[in-house]
Every structure is written in C-alpha cells, then in structure tokens.
Subunit: 681 residues, 2 copies
C-alpha cells in the first residue's frame, strides 16, 4: 500500500490517538478533545508540556515522549505553533493529524504561507492532515469523535458516509440523515483542505466497509481533475451524491469561510455528473438521496423506467410532473400489464402509469406487483396517504417488495403519531419511505439518475486518430489550424494560401466558385472587424476588388491571402476547448450567433468524452430544436457534430502544449460538417 | 349581500347540514358522512327515503320533508340521481351542497352534460355546489368535517386556509402544515369545480376571520381571468401561496383526474404572480410558506433586504446562495452596523452580511438586533445548529424578536429529541422555525417575494391614449395597422400607400431614402416568403426593379404598394398580444430571430399592466443582456420598449373586437422604437 493511502486509513480509522494541547481546563479545546474521545476504542495519549494526569489519563510532555508512532494526532493548539507540532509528529512516524484551528488561508497571505508549509511537509513525508479550519470528523466504526462541532456525538451510526467542505454542513447532513431514519458511518469536515481534500476522503470511504453510500458537500474545488478522476473510480463501487454550493456569485463570503474560491458552478456540476455522481440541490436532498441509494441501486441503464402507483391522483400528478421535469422516463405500461391491473381496481381510475388505485385497499400490493412486472418498469414509486383502516402498508409493502425483485420507494403523509411507527416498520424491511409526494418523486429521480450516470460512465471513450503532437507548432495561422482539424477528421473547405495577388487569381481558377478571400496574418485577431473577410466572390473582378480591400489593411509583416471555397449555408455552431485551471481539458459546444452568446447557451464536458456524451451535450442546448429542422430547414447531422466535439476534445487532451481550440463557426449540414474558421493556441 | 356570495358562506360555514343518502350501513358513504359530522356544532338532518332513525338522529324521507331551508346539503348518493336532488335542494331554499361522487366530466361526454346541467341550475338559482368528484371540505371554526378524505379529521386546527383542486392534496397540505407546527382553519377540495372554483373559495377565505394566510393548489385553470381578478383583490388583505402543478405535459392523467386540462404553466404562473400571489414548487413549500406568512408579512417594497445571521458559515453560504438564486436582495450592511457587530464578535468572522457569529454564544441576540437595526435590512433570517450549551435560543430569540420590530425567521438542525421542545417554545412566541438551512432560506424568500408582489400590485396601471375603438375595422392591412399603432403612440416609419407604379415613384421622391417597397394585400400572409418585401432602395431604378418583382406575385384582387422609409439598424424584438381563452388579454415580448424563437425566450403578462411590470418583463428575458449594449452596440431604450408593451396591451384590452396584435419586428434604438411590421386581427 502507498504510504499516503496507508496514512489516510491510519488517520480516519486509528488505533491510537494523541491530543497535542490536552488540557484539564474545561473551557479549553484540548479538554473538549479528550472528552469527545471517551467512547474511542483505541489508545489515547494526552500531550501537555507539564505532563501529569488529565481526565484520568497519563499526560506526556511531548509527542516524542510517548515513544510510539501514533496513528492520529489531534492538534488542539494555536495556529502559530502548529507547524512545529506537525514536524514533530512526522519525526515520530505518526500517520496523520487533524488541525482544527482557523487562522490560515481564510485570513490572508501569512496564513496562506503557513498552510503551504504544512502542505509541503505532507507531500514530502506522506503524513496526512485534515484541516486546518475544520471541525474534524467522526468514525462510528471505531467509536471515534475527533470533532468539536456542536452535537456531533449525538448523530446516530449507520451506513452513509458524509464528506463536507464545511464542518457545519457535516453536522447538519448527519442530523438530517438521522431524521430520515438512517445513520452515518463516518462524517468528515474538510475545512481548508491543505492536504486531504474531497477526493482523498472519497478514496477512504470507497474502501470503508461500513459505508454503503456517500454524501458529499462541496464549495470550491481546487483540484478538479483529481476529484473527477477519483469520482469516476468510486461511483461504480458506491453511489455518491453531491451538493455543490455556489450557483450564484457568493465568492467573497465563501473565501472568508474556507479560503476557497467558488468556481464555475456549471463546470463543477457537469464534471461531477460526468464522473457518475448524482447532483442535488439542498442538504435535505443530500441526506435523502444518499439514504435511498444506501438501500438500493438500479443496474446501469440509459433511461430507466419508473412505475408510479398512487392512492391519490393529486399526489400522482405532482410526482409525475416532477419526474418528467427531471427528464426521467415514466413509460406507458404494456397492454398485458394494464389488463392485469384493470382486474384489480374499480373502473374509472387511470391505470396506464401513473396507476391511480383510488382509495387504496387490499389489492394495493398486487397492483404494485403488476406494475413492477412490466418489462418497461425498472423501479416502483408508490404513494398513499396514511389510512390504516383501508390498507396496512407495513404488512402489504414488505411482501410486495419481496415479490417484485425491483427497487421500490414509498411515500406517505399523515398525523405524525400515526406515521412514525409505520415508517419505522417499513424501514426495518429496508424500504425507503419519503414523507411528501415531492420527496418521493426525488427518490425515484435519484434512482434513475444514478443508473443513467453509471450507464454513461460505461460508454467507451471514443478514440480518434489525431495528428503527431509535434506537428502543432506555436502560433498556427488559420490555414494551418484548419489542416490540423482536417488531419483529425473534421472537414474544412478547400483552400489555397497565396503569397501574391497572382497566386490568388490562380487559386480562383483551381477552386470551386464562389470563393471567400481572407487576410492571413498573425497580426490580425478579428479578421472580419478590419474588413479582412470577403465572401461570395464568383469572378476575377470580384476577387480583385476583395484583394484591393484586403491590401488596404495596415500590416507590419507579410501580407498573405487565404482563398477558400465558399461553404453552402447551414446551421452555425461553435466548438471550443480549453484547459480549466482546476478541471483540466474541457470542451464546449454552443449554437452560433449573438443571441445564443447573450444567453450563454452552451453545454460542457471534461475531455476525453464518449460519443454518447457528446450527443447528450447537443440535447442539453436550449436551442436544440434548431438541430432538428427548425421551421422547415433540414435536420442536421447530429452524429457528425458530436464526432467533431469528441475529436476536438481528444486533440486538446492529447496535446499538452495546446491551451485552446476554437472552431467558430462550424457549419453543420444534413450530412457532415465544415469548419469555417479555426483557432489553435 | 349577493345571494351567490351569501350562499357560499352558508355552504362553508353552515348552521344546518342535511345528509341526502344517510345510511345506517357502516360501509356506505352516507353513513361515514353522518359519522364525520359528529363534532359539528349546528343541526344535522339525515335524509333517507325510509325515514326512521340513523345513528341516533331522526331521519327524514326527503329534503322537502325537513321543512326548513338547510344551509348545506351533503349529497351521498350516486351520480345518476344527483341532478334531481340538487333541484329539490334549490326548491327547499338550501344554500349549497357538496357532491362527492365522481362520474362527471372526468369520464367523458355524458358526465360533462350532467355537470353542465348542475352548473346551469347553480347559475339560475344562486345555489352553490362544491364538486362533483371532490373529497369535500372541513371548517374548524364550526367543527365541520364534510369530507371522506382519509385522516382529514385528524388535521389540527389553526389559521391557515387550504384550497386544493385535488382532495388528496388538501389532506396532504393539511398534515404538512401540522408537521411544521401550524394548523388549518378550513380545507377545501374543489374537485371538478362545476360551480365553486378556486376564485370562489379564495373569496370565502378572504372574509373568513379565522384565516390569516391561504395555501392554494391548482391543476388546470378554467376561468383564469376570474381567478386573476379575485386574487388581485384578496392578496393585499391576506397572503396567498400557490402551488401550480403541470410544468410538464401531464394532461392525459390530469384530465382523467378532475376533468381539467392543464394549460400553459408559464401563463398560469405569471398571472398568479402578477395578482400578488407567492408561487412555490412543492406541497412542503406550500405548507411552509403559508405558515411563514400567517405569522408576519413585510410592508410592500420593491426589493426588501434580508439580513442573514448564522452560527455556521457553511449554512450561511447555502442560505446566501438560495436567496441570490431567487433574486432576493442581501444588502451589504452599513459601516455603523458593521462596527457595532464587530464589538460583539471575535475577529476573523465575516460580518458584512451574511454575519457569521462563529459558534453562537451569549451575544447571538445582540448580533441579530444589530443587523436588524440596519436601514437596508427589512427582515432577519437566522440559523444555528442546536447547541443548548452555547446558546439557549428559546430565551434569546423571543427577546430579540421583540426588540427588533422587524420580521424574523429562525432555522435549526439537531437531534429530534432536543429540537422539538425548542421549536415548540419558539412557536409559542410566534417565531417561525425552519428545520433546514434551505427551508429557512425559503422562508426569507417568501417574505421578500410577498412584499415585492404587493409593491408591484400597488403600481398604477399606466393609462395610455388609445384610438377610438370604432376605428379598428376588420382586416386591417399593414398600413392601417401601423396607423393604429402610431395613434396609440408607437412610432412607425413614414410611408405612402400607392395604387400604381407612378404613385410609388412619386412616393420615393417625397420620402427620405433609401426606402422599402412592400406588397400591400390582404391575400398575402407572409410577404417576405413570396418576394413581397424589397429593402434598401436608394433610387428610381432600384425601386422599379422591386416593383417588377412585386408585380410578379399572383394576386386575385387589387395590387397596392407600401413605400416606406427604411429604418436604421437596431435591436429587433417582437411584441404580441392575444386573448387567452382562460386568462383573457395577454401581452408577450421576445427578442427577434430564429434562435430566440427556438428557445422560446419570451416574457408574458396579463393586460393591462404597469410600466414597471413591462420593465420587469424585459429583465426576465434570457437575452436581456442584448438590451444593455451587447458587444459594443448601444444600450437600447428600455423605457420606450416597455411603454410600447403597455400600449399594445392596453389597445387589446380596451378593444374587445381585437383578438390579436403582433409587431414583428419592433426595432429598438438608443432612443425610441420603430414598428416595422404590424398585424391587428
């Protein structure tokens, strides 16, 4: 095992813990630390310069004096003295430590320097640090509470792992998980994340036997690519649900909090989804979604079908509306299923999916079984207002669940006193119970999204042939950039580079008319703006006039012309690819034109990506209708467009010296595409 | 009092109730009806053809036999016999009735006919009917349960009125209101709403003394304009929260449910907001928002400022993100406030708003008071994880609330056993407590949205001078339509209608060049498509060529030309106005162009509207950035554009014979607008 990974496990599941700064004074953090360790099953070593005895334990004057390599060190000392203490812990062969103190990156330059020093120590030695500026973590499998967050020791144990950038959210999520009837295996507050970040914590929980699902709260993401790669490895093994804060510009307050800048929400969300995570919008959804997935997952599938069974049609409408808004499939049931259900229910109810049972009765379980038997249905979402006189769901549903062999979630509402025992009884049968129609719908959405994400993750990343990386020199002009595109399989118009007007006139004779004449010079950034692009030139006179105009453009260096066959009209899109400082190679597609730009109608993915992901990007565009033959124009070649996206992404990803690629516009036709302008930096 | 309104009150708050179809057989609806009336404070008359005694009450062979005009009749009989029973009730002078039975519009043509007959009876007589196909209603002020919805008699009383199109949602919302620690005054399930619809129920609850806030659930809206007008009258008196189902196309199932087609969600939502309602997304939000507003409302204000005080920064980020996403103002605190807060808190916390107290302590209440004292702050949103050892919120917050004199909502999370008593204690002090950071944020959003909606409602609807209605004849051609626009203050290009080529050439001499030549004929719907529009004509030759082309267009009737000064380039928008079958006169604005159309980037309002509402429409456009000088182009004249919207809306609203108006495009400049094409039907 790598030492860094080994030390990660020593830190989170230690057999020995030292408290540096242990104190007998009850108001001190070092005192509370010792108190919070009271249920820990391993050895505890208080460390205080004066030695003696603290809370009935022998105290040691220093870590060195303990004389053993401790697994985890709790630093309950001021920020100024931490670095020296970390150095001592490393000398003693300790595994890792938790730095609760604030006063680091969130306070400015000096704090950043101290943090960087600790980071360097960790990198050199393999010692692992959680924090600084964290409320710590707890691990129920070893009875360890290494945190001073309020009430954290009252969070009930269970099988959901929590990772939160903020210690407060760690606690909040834990209590919400409890509220929904579930428990927490391990809850980790990351704080400033100088060493251990979300990816490391994921890595740990992925291996933790007591954890069946992971809830992750993120603010900023410093090492986006690392998180992405780790997430891709983890989600096929265990479901991961993510709450990413920062849709709006809340950077000022956020930075004061954990010293992290909150980056683009869209990129963060896209990357996490692409890596197989399920994204949610609130702490409650975070807790509930992790709860649902800790009990069951669907097999990977592109668009799993949900069967809805409701005792009240109004609730059915609410659930259906939610599922459809989320793009989840609610398939019409097969004829045989409908016939089978019709026999079980009174006439006049709707039974095609949703299935409205009317006031639920003794057949409620059979109706569920019938819906579940439908080949289009992968999971059941069932709802009924609490009405024990009509149907005892605690008897009916566990039997139904056993017989159907497909995941099921249930939802109910009623007097608290009546539904609490029902909920508890159903949860004993591993049946997830939601407490409103919308929460139930969300449970269904989460099951479907997880399965769809895993399906996407299993699609092979297309390999496209790309040119020799060495061929991409600095400062490619438009012609050379287009030749690179052509070499990776993206069509460009036929063209000729001309050093003189004579060559240009010769080119006109060799090309299909009409042609376009463009200025070719690295001095010009926006050709159109300076009158450097002339289209629709059908004869020599027109070309000459165009060359005259181009010759008027003031230039220092050589003046060259690009004479190019004019492309037929088509839908214009933009493909761009950049290296994001956090997430690395990223590809973007959008429809061309001012309005599309003004509304930022783009879809993004990390590179490399599969063809099916590129096709998905197209469907995400608000202007997607334009691709399907808007107002009588032809349906465009989505496959060719998606392939171009994959090729551009691969080109960027495989050529580290390339920082940016832009095709603007790429014209898309009923068959094929043509790149009309290209930039490769 | 109008008989219909009087009968509405007799029905919902009756002093006497008859059960037609009362039965001694316990499985019968007529039996359950009598049982559910056991706590009713008024007189109860069972009606059954055989008379006798039922459940200890004397039964009458018919309504007529009772010999008194009963306030409310519960029809517990099959659909086929209802019409005759209603006729008898009318003859007896009864106030109204509840028809629980299904089998009406939701089942097809025959059911629709029966419903129409009942509707006609109601209109003629003033008798009021709730239903059919409803689970009924309950009114706690008279101890009345006129419903068979499961568990409905277990919903605790309080001050929130509930109106739900679906009986199931009526019950669900009631239980959710209870879950949040509040109660229901009156809960009404509308069902097929043959007579009493959402507007009538609103009207009743607006006058009901026991109701302080109203929660309304809607599926389809048949009489949109009536609902809109009623809502406008009600919301200034009592807050109304609306959950409108049907974002997605769920019409098939919806129609089977209450026989209502679900119309355009966007129009429904816009109309309700415009009428002062607060829109929410789920039954839980419906219950919670009504709860918040039943305790306090902010004074009407365009953009009320929210002060955020948190014990945990992570929760603060979540709350801030939510408020900003909802467009709610979170103002930076004044310098004096910041200085005051700084004295109360340890250094290193963020105190500009949100205010992060760090672990909350004894100063928590004082910090809240300091934030509330800021002139920019209209309401306080405070959050802290349950930590009684640090701060006893049940002592601190009621004191703070009293001292600040501004609305406050609080949120907390913790072990259920610990927070329940805290919640109860705070609720006794009329302090709303949310149980997650996001629910707390939503409470703040609801307060702000309600105040903003009431501010908008108080903006006077602009009056614009409009032409004599008689001047608008049928089939206005483009020229006449433009003259109408000019007469209501919307500029159009100078133009001349020409019967001959000579007139056209003369027109060229009289107008500013270049000009546009268009065909003018009611036979041509899309001028451009047939080559009927020629732009940029600077001289006689060009005009002649254009006239040649126009003369090639095959026509049956007379051929005329419209010669018009060509408008300078500018941003193109579309203004449209139609009469919606449900909501009546409605105005729409969108940016011109294929892409804007493909993404349906439009904003809508009911007519008439105020100038500030029209300006708000512009801000709602996704492409709003284009209005503000996109990429170096000039900032356009938003005021002139908004005024044009108001004028078009007023024109439609005040001229009943006009069914549709479209200006496409309207060109918008740095100063002023020009309508380039116009259609008035």
């Amino acid at each position: 095992m790598q030492p860094r990974l080994g030390n990660l496990q020593r830190l989170f599941a230690p057999r020995s813990v030292a408290v540096v700064g242990a104190s007998a004074a009850s108001e001190k953090v070092g005192h509370q630390a010792l108190v919070s360790l009271r249920n820990f099953s391993g050895a505890v070593y208080p460390v205080h310069p004066k030695g003696g005895e603290i809370l009935g334990r022998t105290a040691y004057p220093s870590l060195t004096a303990v004389g053993k390599p401790i697994d985890m060190v709790l630093f309950a000392i001021p920020a100024a003295t931490i670095t020296a203490a970390v150095e001592e812990a490393i000398r003693c062969g300790c595994g890792g430590g938790v730095i609760v103190s604030g006063g680091f990156a969130e306070t400015g330059d000096k704090g950043i320097a101290a943090q960087e020093r600790i980071r360097a120590l960790c990198t050199e030695s393999g010692f692992r640090v959680l924090g600084p500026n964290t409320s710590g973590f707890f691990n129920n499998s070893v009875g360890l509470v290494a945190s001073f967050a309020p009430g954290i020791d009252q969070i009930r144990p269970g099988h959901i792992g929590v990772i939160a950038q903020s210690g407060g959210i760690n606690v909040i999520t834990g209590f919400l998980i409890n509220r929904f009837g579930y428990g927490v295996s391990c809850g980790i507050g990351l704080g400033n994340a100088v060493d251990i970040d979300a990816a490391d914590a994921l890595e740990y929980l992925a291996d933790d036997e007591g954890t069946r699902a992971i809830a992750l709260h993120l603010e900023g993401v410093r090492h986006g690519r690392k998180l992405y790669e780790t997430m891709r490895r983890v989600t096929p093994r265990k479901p991961v649900v993510v709450l990413a804060v920062g849709r709006e510009d809340i950077g000022d307050f956020a930075q004061s909090h954990t010293g992290n800048l909150i980056g683009s929400y869209a990129l963060k969300a896209t990357a996490l989804r692409q890596a197989g995570a399920v994204l949610v919008e609130s702490t409650e959804e975070l807790a509930a979604a992790a709860a649902v997935l800790s009990l069951s997952r669907l097999a990977p599938k592109r668009a799993p079908g949900i069967g809805i069974v409701v005792g009240q049609a109004g609730a059915g409408l609410v659930i259906l509306d939610r599922l459809k808004s989320a793009g989840v499939s609610v398939p019409t049931l097969n004829e045989t299923t409908v016939v089978r259900i019709a026999k079980l229910l009174p006439p006049m109810t709707y039974i095609k999916n949703p299935v409205d049972t009317g006031r639920p009765g003794s057949t409620f379980g059979e109706v569920i079984a019938a819906v579940a038997s439908d080949s289009e249905v992968d999971a059941i979402v069932a709802f009924a207002i609490n009405e024990p006189a009509a149907v005892r769901v605690e008897d009916v549903l566990p039997r139904a669940k056993q017989s159907i062999g497909k995941p099921m979630v249930f939802g109910t509402v009623g007097p608290e006193s009546a539904i609490r025992p029902t909920l508890a009884a159903l949860q004993r049968h591993q049946l997830h119970v939601a407490d409103s129609p919308e929460r139930l719908a969300h449970a269904g959405i989460v099951l479907a999204q997880d399965a769809a994400a895993q399906w996407r993750l299993r699609q092979s990343v297309s390999s496209v042939s790309i040119p020799n990386a060495n061929a991409i020199a600095e400062n490619l002009d438009e012609y050379k950039a287009k030749q690179v595109l052509r070499s990776i399989g993206i069509a460009v118009p036929n063209s000729v580079v001309c050093e003189s007007r004579d060559q240009a006139l010769a080119a006109l004779r060799s090309l299909k008319r009409p042609v376009v004449a463009k200025i070719l010079s690295s001095e010009i950034a926006h050709k159109s703006d300076v009158g450097g692009v002339h289209t629709n030139l059908a004869d020599e006179d027109a070309l000459k006039r165009a060359l005259d105009a181009i010759d008027m453009i003031p230039l220092n260096g050589a003046r060259r012309y690009l004479i190019e066959e004019m492309a037929p009209p088509g839908l214009e899109v933009i493909i761009g690819a950049i290296r994001d400082p956090s997430f690395g190679p990223t590809v973007m597609v959008g429809v061309g034109g001012t309005i599309a730009e003004a509304i930022r109608d783009t879809a993004i993915r990390l590179a490399p990506l599969s063809l099916s992901q590129a096709l998905e990007m197209l469907s995400e565009l608000r202007a997607a209708a334009l691709l399907d033959g808007w107002r009588g124009s032809a349906k465009v070649d989505r496959d060719a467009l998606a392939e171009s996206i994959v090729r551009v992404a691969t080109l960027l990803e495989q050529n580290p010296q390339v920082t940016e690629i832009e095709i603007n516009p790429l014209r898309v036709y009923a068959r094929g595409v043509l790149a009309l302008d290209a930039l490769i930096v």
